[in-house]
């Protein structure tokens, strides 16, 4: 396979250095410079990041291939600088068996753009009443290390505790969608004066905060690790901060949209702004940003949720929840966290790559650019304007009217170039390495 010499990139916005890639791993640039078969890429002016890792992606296959496939979602991911995504289990059928999670994993390898890590369901058919076969999924080819009923909350406390126990035996983590179902019946948007005046049903923050509070205590009681999906409120940040201070093994994520968008956008009743958990108030957005800055929130995860036009071409209450995120995540993090000074480029790499890989037990992301590590790499022009997302099959992009900064120009997945000058490398032209797990 091709070797690369990447010259002049600024590593995480700091020192400028050349980067060598050969046989899928980072090598000393001197080892590839001037060699036959080495492609040289001038990256001066660009910032080098480790390939991004998304812990929360909906790829919709099987069952929702009109909205996204594992191939199209992988392509959107590559365009966004990602080299690994965790595919949520709420497909049709649900990924609640080893056969199902292994199928997702194989489709990911066939697609070849990113490492597709299947997330296994916690309960059978996401039904919330009976545990799925966690050990079988963990022991399968895909080696599932993240389990989640995302889209639904594991609401039964007994079941949640047992799931935490079982996951912990496999070194895996439960990623909880924290939402008390009884407090959010028919909910459309953030609870409060705006929801009331729009006549929409409110989704109170306590429905999230109370589940997080319960779950951290459950995790503590069985000595297990817990990951909380998409924090959306200031109160949730406080609960997680309390749990961390107490020494509980909890990690937390926030989505790009909760770092930038507020409930005010719902005023026009455009369902592109309908998402679960809902967009909150400005105070929540600010608290979430502070949460990332202080480390209470460990990672940014997209909750990329493609939907067909028809599931959004209706009145707000009937519309599906969810928005695209893979191709805009990097730009939103620049705008919401880097520009205001909450994170530097190394911090961005931490929340979009190093930490999510750690939480998902994904190897090869520990030391960005280190010789011998798999060559997962994103090269970005952080001053250019962001391009228009075009990798996903769906178009429910909530950031259309925002002039966001930052453009991913090149992505390398385990040494294979997947994005070249901002465009996808065609599938037939991808390197021979089909992205086996490192």
């Amino acid at each position: 396979m091709t070797s690369y010499l990447i010259t002049g990139a600024s590593l995480l916005g700091a020192k400028t250095a050349d980067i060598g890639i050969s046989e899928g791993v980072f090598v000393d640039p001197k080892d590839v410079a001037g060699k036959r078969g080495t492609t040289t890429l001038d990256a001066s002016g660009l910032v080098a990041f480790p390939g991004f890792v998304d812990l929360h992606t909906h790829l919709r296959q099987p069952g929702g291939e009109q909205a996204e496939t594992i191939l199209s979602g992988s392509q959107a991911a590559a365009l966004g600088g990602f080299t690994a995504v965790h595919a949520m289990a709420n497909t049709t059928p649900v990924a609640d068996t080893a056969a199902a999670t292994d199928a997702v994993w194989r489709w990911g390898i066939e697609a070849g753009y990113v490492d597709v890590r299947p997330v296994g369901a916690v309960t059978k058919n996401l039904g919330g009443s009976e545990l799925a076969a966690l050990s079988a999924m963990a022991a399968g080819h895909a080696q599932v290390r993240v389990f989640s009923d995302d889209g639904k909350c594991v609401h039964d406390s007994g079941l949640m505790r047992e799931a935490l126990r079982q996951a912990s035996r496999h070194g895996a983590v439960i990623a909880q969608h924290a939402q008390d179902p009884q407090l959010t019946l028919g909910a459309d948007m953030n609870d409060g004066a705006l929801a009331s005046s729009l006549g929409l049903t409110g989704w109170p923050t306590v429905a999230e905060e109370s589940i997080i509070a319960r779950d951290v205590l459950l995790a503590e009681s069985v000595g297990a690790r817990l990951h909380v999906c998409h924090l959306s409120s200031a109160g949730s940040v406080e609960v997680v901060a309390w749990a961390k201070k107490r020494g509980i093994a909890v990690t937390a994520e926030v989505t790009p949209h909760h770092l930038l968008l507020t409930e005010e956008l719902v005023r026009g009743f455009d369902p592109v702004f309908k998402v679960n958990p809902p967009l909150r108030r400005e105070e929540d957005v600010m608290a979430l940003r502070e949460g990332v800055a202080s480390g209470v929130i460990d990672i940014v995860a997209t909750d990329h949720a493609p939907h067909t036009p028809e599931s959004k071409e209706c009145a707000f209450p009937e519309a599906a929840f969810g928005m695209l995120g893979l191709e805009t995540a990097f730009s939103v993090v620049l705008r919401a966290l880097v520009e205001p000074g909450h994170l530097d480029m190394a911090g961005l790499a931490r929340v979009l790559s190093v930490r999510p890989a750690q939480i998902g037990s994904l190897e090869g992301y520990e030391k960005p650019f280190a010789v011998g590590q798999p060559a997962h790499l994103a090269l970005a022009d952080v001053t250019a304007a962001a391009g228009t997302p075009h990798g996903s099959l769906s178009t429910n992009n909530p950031f259309e009217s925002w002039d966001l900064p930052g453009q991913i120009l090149h992505t390398f997945f385990a040494g294979t170039q997947t994005v070249l000058a901002g465009e996808l490398v065609e599938r037939e032209s991808l390197g021979t390495n089909k992205g086996r797990r490192s």
Binding site: D188, S197, G268, D270, C314, P317, E318
Partner: protein
């Protein structure tokens, strides 16, 4: 005005113009042939995704008095029950010639969605969307109030009036639309209902909020607007027992007797007699409930006239 979607964003000028136009049109009803040629050639479609005979008939009467053609689309038993989307339904009725679509929908924001989505060119009148707004109801209520307190109401607002709105505020689009419009027209609004039926964040609304109906009556309001109990709009079990509701929030004859003699009794209909309003009160001399219905027709004529004018 291309659409009428709600009263929250309706300016005072627009509201007064609509009220004045409606006042002029109200005279038409008394003519030997109660018809004007103004909307000849226009087609109004009633697009009703929720049952409402009276609002539909009122719009139909308004359109016919203006010589518009009327088509009616009832969602029940139609293509909608076969899964047709709002977009397809709206585009279909427009393709059949709709210039103005009057829509009643069970979902909040449906009318705004239709107006702003780019799916259709027709003007949209919100005839009630979920628990959001019902602007023509608020306008006709304002017209009724104005008629009652002014000899010549033209150009006049409702400054100085105090209106008490009683009932399930949380689930009432009529309460919302009335509150915004009355506020815009300078009236004072008091919302009264059991705490369980007051919406989250109601303190931020431009109204006084109370749970004690009797205390609200002590302030001698100029009008009391009773809302219909709407159990169908509540998620889960009803939050308030009917017995308690009737005891504390019904406009009984005893409560009505405490109203000042000039005070008006209003109800958007359909009434649950014996629940939110006693039969004797509904039929009393202070009741302007049928005036509201009459004003509904001329008010809707005014709105149709306004939207048609914006098109041509």
């Amino acid at each position: 005005m291309k659409h009428l979607l709600g009263t929250q964003d309706l300016s005072k000028d627009d509201a007064l113009r609509l009220l004045d136009t409606a006042y002029e049109f109200s005279a038409v009803a008394h003519r030997h042939v109660p018809k004007l040629p103004t909307l000849r050639g226009a087609t109004m479609v009633n697009l009703f995704f929720e049952d409402s005979t009276r609002t539909r008939l009122s719009f139909e009467a308004a359109a016919k008095r203006l010589s518009a053609d009327v088509m009616t689309f009832q969602a029940a038993g139609s293509s909608v029950s076969k899964g047709e989307s709002l977009k397809d339904t709206a585009q279909t009725v427009e393709a059949m010639g709709a210039d103005i679509i009057v829509m009643r929908h069970f979902s909040s924001g449906a009318a705004a969605r239709l107006a702003h989505s780019g799916w259709i060119q027709a003007g949209v009148i919100n005839a009630g969307d979920g628990t959001h707004e019902h602007p023509t109801q608020a306008l006709l209520d304002a017209a009724t109030l104005r008629d009652a307190v002014q000899d010549d109401p033209r150009g006049k607002d409702l400054a100085g009036l105090h209106v008490v709105i009683v009932g399930d505020i949380a689930h009432s689009r009529v309460a919302r639309s009335n509150m915004w419009l009355l506020n815009t027209l300078g009236a004072k609004v008091t919302l009264v209902g059991p705490a369980e039926l007051l919406p989250e964040g109601v303190a931020d609304w431009p109204a006084e909020v109370m749970s004690d109906f009797d205390a609200a009556l002590d302030s001698q309001p100029d009008a009391v607007m009773m809302l219909r109990m709407q159990n169908e709009r509540q998620e889960g079990a009803p939050r308030v027992s009917l017995t308690h509701y009737v005891r504390d929030y019904s406009l009984s004859s005893a409560r009505a007797a405490r109203l000042s003699t000039h005070a008006l009794v209003m109800h958007p209909g359909p009434m649950n007699r014996g629940v939110e309003i006693a039969s004797s009160v509904a039929d009393s001399a202070q009741s302007v409930i049928l005036d509201q219905v009459r004003n509904g027709v001329s008010m809707r004529m005014a709105v149709l006239y306004e939207l048609w004018g914006a098109r041509s």
